[in-house]
């Protein structure tokens, strides 16, 4: 699937927001909160998705 640069930028922004809110929630959680591991997973997977997008080739139709 070809994604143009503006759509890629918007997608990265959305994932950055997920990452940022997960970070905030992790900080605000009490020590030992049972939801903390799942929240950490959400944050890690947002970062993993961003790293995949970082390596995405440009859309040839834009070049």
């Amino acid at each position: 699937m070809a994604v143009d640069s503006s759509e890629l930028h918007r997608l990265k922004n959305q994932l950055s927001i997920v990452y940022g809110f997960a970070d905030l929630l992790l900080i605000e959680m009490a020590p030992g909160d049972p939801h903390a591991p799942q929240m950490a997973e959400i944050q890690q997977h947002a970062m993993a998705a961003l790293e995949l997008l970082r390596d995405a080739p440009p859309n040839p139709e834009e070049q």
Partner: protein, 143 residues
């Protein structure tokens, strides 16, 4: 201390506001570069500009150049998801400027803001704060 957060994405502004307000900063938001410039032209007191570089209407760096012409000593924190391309294009930073990579978390944003506003670095960043890790390496690599 007041931070003007300029980003076209509401969620990014919300995250930045929550982080900065939790640390005692006052936050003003602008939805794009033109809006940010208008805020400064209205003589709103601002100590630090936090600007997304990739915005429609007016690019963040264009806005920052115009704002710094009005307020040469205003500290600027540029936020971008494309830091490597940016640093290739512009490897040196002026005094009072820094880059922070998206995604940012609380630790990386607050350290960047503190470093710019006080010149001091607090505790070392946690391993997961990628934004700050890059930010520090760029700063330390200036020579």
């Amino acid at each position: 201390m007041t931070v003007l957060v300029v980003d076209d994405e509401e969620g990014v502004r919300m995250v930045a506001r929550r982080i900065l307000e939790s640390a005692g900063y006052t936050v003003i938001e602008a939805v794009n570069g033109a809006d940010g410039l208008k805020t400064i032209e209205a003589n709103t007191p601002v100590d630090l500009l936090m600007a997304d570089l990739d915005m429609p209407v007016m690019r963040g760096e264009d806005m920052a150049v115009r704002i710094r012409a009005l307020r040469p000593h205003l500290k600027c924190l540029y936020v971008t998801a494309h830091i490597d391309a940016l640093m290739d294009e512009r490897p040196l930073l002026w005094d009072g400027e820094a880059f922070l990579e998206k995604p940012f978390g609380s630790a990386s944003l607050l350290e960047a803001v503190r470093l710019l506003t006080t010149g001091r670095i607090g505790a070392p960043p946690p391993a997961q704060s990628s934004g700050l890790r890059l930010f520090w390496s760029r700063i330390s690599g200036r020579g």
